[in-house]
Amino acid sequence: MTRIRPLPGQPESGGEPVFDAPWQARAFAMAVHLNEQGVFSWTEWSDQLAGLIKNHEMHAAIHNSDDYYRIWLKALEDIAKDMK
C-alpha cells in the first residue's frame, strides 16, 4: 500500500490539517496562552466551553472545525467581556 507518510517525528493526523483556517489556530492559541498566564484554569475553560456547546446543540449540531471553533471563540469573547 502506498501512502504519503509525514517526515519522521512529524505528527500523523490522518491527512487532516490540524486547523482549517488561520483564525482557528489564533483562537486556539489564545485560550491556551491565557490559561498558561493563569487567567483561568483549564477546568474553568472546559466548563465554559462545554456550557456553550450544550446551548448550541439544543438547536444545531457541531459538524466541523468551523462550527467548533466558532463556539470556542464565543467562549473566549464571553470571558473577555467579564474581564472588563
Partner: protein, 204 residues
C-alpha cells in the same frame, strides 16, 4: 464602546477573522497575550505534537512488560518518562484492549483529549454525532470506522474530562513477534489509540 458597523447577520469568513483579531488586540492591549507566544503554541500543535508520541508509548508497552505494568498503574508518570508532558496530559489513564474487552474514548461534553500523546483531536472527535453516538451506540460507531468485534467482546466507553484523559493501549497484532519498538510504533495509528481502530497485522 464604538464599534465599526457590520452588515446584520453577517457570518462570512471575513467577519470571524475580524472578531478574532479584535479580541487578540484587546488582550494584547491588556498585556494578557503575547502574539509571539501564540505563534509558538500554533507551531507546537501543528508540527511538533502528534500521535507518533502515543505510538512510541504503545510500542514501549508492547516490548517492555515492566513498562506496560507501570503504564497501566500510573499512566501520567510513565508517559512523562518517555518525555511527553504538557497541556492536557496531566492526568492520564491508559486502558488496555484484550480479546475480551475493547475500549474506546470520547469526550461527551466538549473535546478533552490527551494532547501530549495524540496532538489535537480530529474533527469527528469534536462533532456532535460522535460525542453522542459513542455512548448510545458504540458498536454501530465502531462498525462505521471499520471495526467489527465479536459479539462476546465487551465494549467500554470512557468519557474524558478536564480532570482525566484516556488513551487506549491497543492489542499487539499477530505476526509482529520479531518487530522491535521502532517497527511496532510505525504500525500504531491514531484511531487505534482512541479505540476506533485496531492495529493491523503488517501482512494485511
Amino acid at each position: 464602546m464604538s464599534r465599526t458597523p457590520l452588515p446584520h447577520h453577517s457570518h462570512g469568513p471575513g467577519d470571524i477573522e475580524l472578531r478574532v483579531s479584535r479580541l487578540e488586540k484587546l488582550l494584547v492591549d491588556k498585556g494578557l497575550v503575547d502574539p509571539a507566544a501564540m505563534d509558538a503554541l500554533v507551531d507546537t500543535y501543528e508540527n511538533r505534537v502528534g500521535p507518533r508520541n502515543g505510538a512510541h508509548v504503545v510500542a514501549r508497552a508492547w516490548t517492555d512488560e515492566n513498562y506496560r505494568k507501570r503504564l497501566l498503574e500510573n499512566a501520567t508518570e510513565s508517559i512523562m518518562e518517555l518525555g511527553y508532558r504538557g497541556r492536557q496530559g496531566e492526568h492520564m489513564q491508559v486502558v488496555e484492549n484484550t480479546s475480551k474487552v475493547h475500549n474506546m474514548v470520547v469526550c461527551t461534553l466538549c473535546s478533552c483529549y490527551p494532547w501530549p500523546v495524540l496532538g489535537l483531536p480530529p474533527t469527528w472527535y469534536k462533532a456532535s454525532s460522535y460525542r453522542a453516538r459513542a455512548v448510545s451506540e458504540p458498536r454501530a460507531v465502531l462498525a462505521e470506522f471499520g471495526v467489527e468485534l465479536a459479539k462476546d467482546v465487551e465494549i467500554r466507553v470512557w468519557d474524558s474530562t478536564a480532570e482525566i484523559r484516556y488513551l487506549v493501549l491497543p492489542q499487539r497484532p499477530v505476526g509482529t513477534e520479531d518487530f522491535n519498538e521502532n517497527e511496532l510504533a510505525k504500525l500504531v495509528t491514531r484511531d487505534s489509540m482512541i479505540g476506533v481502530g485496531v492495529v493491523q497485522s503488517p501482512q494485511s
